[in-house]
Symmetry: C2
Subunit: 339 residues, 2 copies
DNA sequence: TTGAAAGCGCTACCAT
DNA sequence: ATGGTAGCGCTTTCAA
C-alpha cells in the first residue's frame, strides 16, 4: 500500500495525498479527511526507506558496544533506547566483541545503512580511531560513551573514572587494607588509564607505595580468555612475596567474572582477600559475601549520550565538544569490610 | 560519494560502475579494475537505503523483546546477533516493556522501516496477536521466540517449558519439600501456562495436592511493580495457615528480583524457604546461598529463531511451521538442598 | 486547493 | 563491453 495506491483509489495525485497525510495547509479539510480515513482503513504504513532516501536522513542511530550481554552495557542501551524512542529515532546495535577489526566492520556497516549519527564505546583491543576520524570528516555526527579516547575530537559522555577508582581505593585503605591489587582492562583507552590513575593517586595520598606487580591486565576478548586471564593474574598475585590483601576489579565484565573464579580458587572474601568491583549488577547485595561496588549511572550515561547525539544531528547543540562526566557511586558492603 | 560521482570521475555510466563493483561478467577486466581501485581510493560506501528501496528488501530484521537489560534476554539477543551478522542481516531491537500497546507500536515502527522479518517475544500484558496476524497477512515473515502464543500460526522457538518446571518441582519434592509455591508471570502466554502445568503435573505425580493459594502472579510491567508484587505475594504466602517451604520463580526477571527481596524480608534460604529460579545469570553459583536454577539455552534460542526466520525470508525453509523446543537444564545448588 | 514532475542512489532491462 | 533509462516510494518545487 503506497501513496500512489491511495491516490489512484481516491482519484487524487500522490502529492495531494502526501500533503494531506502530513496535514499541509495547502489541502482542503474535506480532502484531508477523505485521505486520512482511507489510509487508516487500508492500514497504510509509509515507507520509511523511501522517505529516508529522499530526505537524506534515516532517523536511525548506530550504536556500537563491546557486548550486549553485560548488565552495565544493557543498562546503557536501555537509556539510549528510551531517549531515541522519545525523539523518534530507531537504533541499530552492533557488537565489536572487543575486536578492533570487528569494530571497524560495525561502523562501516552502520555507515552504509545511512545512520544519522553514531554512538560508540570503542573496543579495548586497539584504541585506534582512524576509522572514526574518517567518518567524522565525512560529516557523521559521533558521540563516544563510557569508553573514550582523546584522539577523537567529539563529544564524550562517561563517568569521573579517576574519582571512581579513587573512591574504591580510598575506601579499602580506610578499612585497613594497604596491599591493594587491581585487575584492569589492558587497554590504553582513557577510561582505563584514568581508573588506574585514580587508584595510584589514592595510594599516593595515603603514602602507600605503588607496586607495579599489583597492577594486572585482563584479556576481555572473550569470556574464556577473560576467565583464564583472571585466573592467571590471581596466581601471579598470590605468588608474590607480599601478596595483596584486597583487589579492585576495574570493569563490569572483570568484576562479574572474577567473583566465581575467586570463590573456586578458595579465597575467602574478605578474610583472604577483600574485593571492590566496578559493576552494575543488581545482585551485588545478594552475593556471598555482598559485594562492594562502584555503581555507574548507566541509564544516565546512555540517555545523556543519546540526547547529545540527537542534539547535534538536529543542530541544536551548543557546547558540543564538552565532555560530560557523571558521578559513580561507591556502595560499601561486606566484601571489603575491615577485618 | 555515489555511483554517479564515480561514473563522472571515470567517464563511465552509472550502470557500468554498478556492474563493475558487483563483478558482473558484462564488464571488462581493465574497467573493473579501474572502477574498483577508484572506489576504494575515495572510500565509496554503497547506499544501502537506495539498494533496499530498489530491491524491495532491507536485509534488516526487527526484534521485539520485553526489556533489554535482563541476562536471559540479552543472551538471546547475542545469539540472534551472531546469526544475523553471519548471514548479512542487521537487527533493529525494540522493547515492549511488557506493554501490549507499546508492543503494537514497536511492530508498527519496525514494519514501517521495511524489515524483512520479525522476531518477537510477546509482552506478558495481553497476549493478543491481532497485530501480528495483520502483518503476517501482509506477507511479513514472523518467528516467535521464548514466549509464544498458539493463536499465531508461525514458527516458534522456545524450551520445553512444561518439562523445565517439572524438573524444578520434582527436584524440590525429592529433596523433601512438599509445600511448594510458584511465582509466575501472570500471563496467559503459552510459556507461563506450560510452566504452571509442569509444576502441577510434578505435584500430581507425587500425589501432592495442588493448592491454588500457592500459585502467585507477579506484575512484570516495571521493576518497581515487580518488586512490590513479589513482596505482596510473599506476605500472602507467609500468612497462610500452611505457608510454603519452597518457592519456584518462573522467569528470569522474577528470579533475580526475588532474591534480594527474600533476603531483605529475613528469610533464610533454604532453612526458612527453599528456592529454585528460572534464570541465566552467571552469578547463580556466587549468590548466598548458591541458587538452584533452571538454565535455558538462551543463545541457542536466539540462534535457532534467527536462522529459521532468515531461512523463511530467503525461501529455504522446509518445515517452516514446526515449533522447536530446546531443553532447559536444572542446576542443583544450595538454595534447594535437603534440610 | 490540487497536480505534474524532478530527483534521492541504486539495479535491471534493453540498446548500442 | 558499455550506456541510457525506468522506476522503487517518497517529498518538494512550481505550475495550474
Amino acid at each position: 500500500m503506497t501513496l500512489r495506491d491511495i491516490a489512484k483509489a481516491l482519484n487524487l495525485s500522490t502529492s495531494t495525498v502526501s500533503k494531506a497525510l502530513r496535514d499541509s495547509y495547502e489541502i482542503g479539510e474535506d480532502t484531508k479527511k477523505r485521505v486520512i480515513t482511507y489510509a487508516e482503513q487500508v492500514g497504510y504504513q509509509p515507507n520509511t526507506l523511501a522517505k529516508s532516501l529522499k530526505e537524506g536522513k534515516s532517523r536511525t542511530i548506530g550504536v556500537v558496544i563491546c557486548a550486549i550481554d553485560n548488565s552495565f552495557v544493557s543498562q546503557m542501551l536501555n537509556g539510549i533506547d528510551r531517549v531515541c524512542n522519545e525523539r523518534g529515532y530507531s537504533i541499530m546495535i552492533m557488537q565489536s566483541k572487543e575486536s578492533h577489526e570487528q569494530e571497524i566492520k560495525c561502523t562501516e556497516v552502520l555507515y552504509g545503512r545511512s545512520i544519522d549519527g553514531l554512538l560508540i564505546s570503542p573496543a579495548c583491543e586497539t584504541p585506534n580511531v582512524d576509522h572514526l576520524i574518517r567518518f567524522q570528516q565525512w560529516g557523521l555526527p559521533i558521540v563516544l560513551f563510557d569508553r573514550y579516547s582523546d584522539e577523537l575530537d567529539v563529544p564524550k559522555v562517561s563517568i569521573n573514572n579517576l574519582d571512581a577508582a579513587y573512591q574504591a581505593t580510598d575506601h579499602l585503605i580506610k578499612n585497613g587494607y594497604t596491599r591493594i591489587a587491581v585487575l584492569h582492562s589492558n587497554t590504553s583507552l582513557n577510561i582505563n588509564i584514568q581508573r588506574l590513575e585514580g587508584y595510584k593517586r589514592a595510594l599516593h595520598n595515603h603514602q602507600i607505595e605503588v607496586r607495579e606487580q599489583y597492577i594486572q591486565p585482563c584479556n576481555l576478548q572473550s569470556t574464556s580468555q577473560l576467565e583464564e586471564s583472571i585466573y592467571h593474574a590471581m596466581e601471579k598475585l598470590s605468588a608474590l612475596s607480599l601478596p595483596p590483601t584486597a583487589i579492585i576489579t576495574l570493569s563490569d565484565q572483570i568484576s562479574t567474572s572474577s567473583i566465581p573464579i575467586l570463590q573456586e580458587m578458595g579465597y575467602r572474601i574478605p578474610q583472604d582477600i577483600a574485593l571492590v568491583g566496578f559493576t552494575n549488577t543488581n545482585l551485588a547485595s545478594s552475593l556471598n559475601p555482598p559485594l562492594s561496588t562502584i555503581y555507574q549511572p548507566a541509564i544516565g550515561i546512555g540517555e545523556t549520550a543519546a540526547n547529545r547525539l540527537i542534539d547535534i544531528i538536529e543542530g541544536i547543540d551548543e557546547e558540543e565538544k564538552k565532555t560530560v562526566y557523571l558521578d559513580a557511586k561507591l556502595y560499601e558492603r561486606a566484601s571489603s569490610k575491615r577485618i
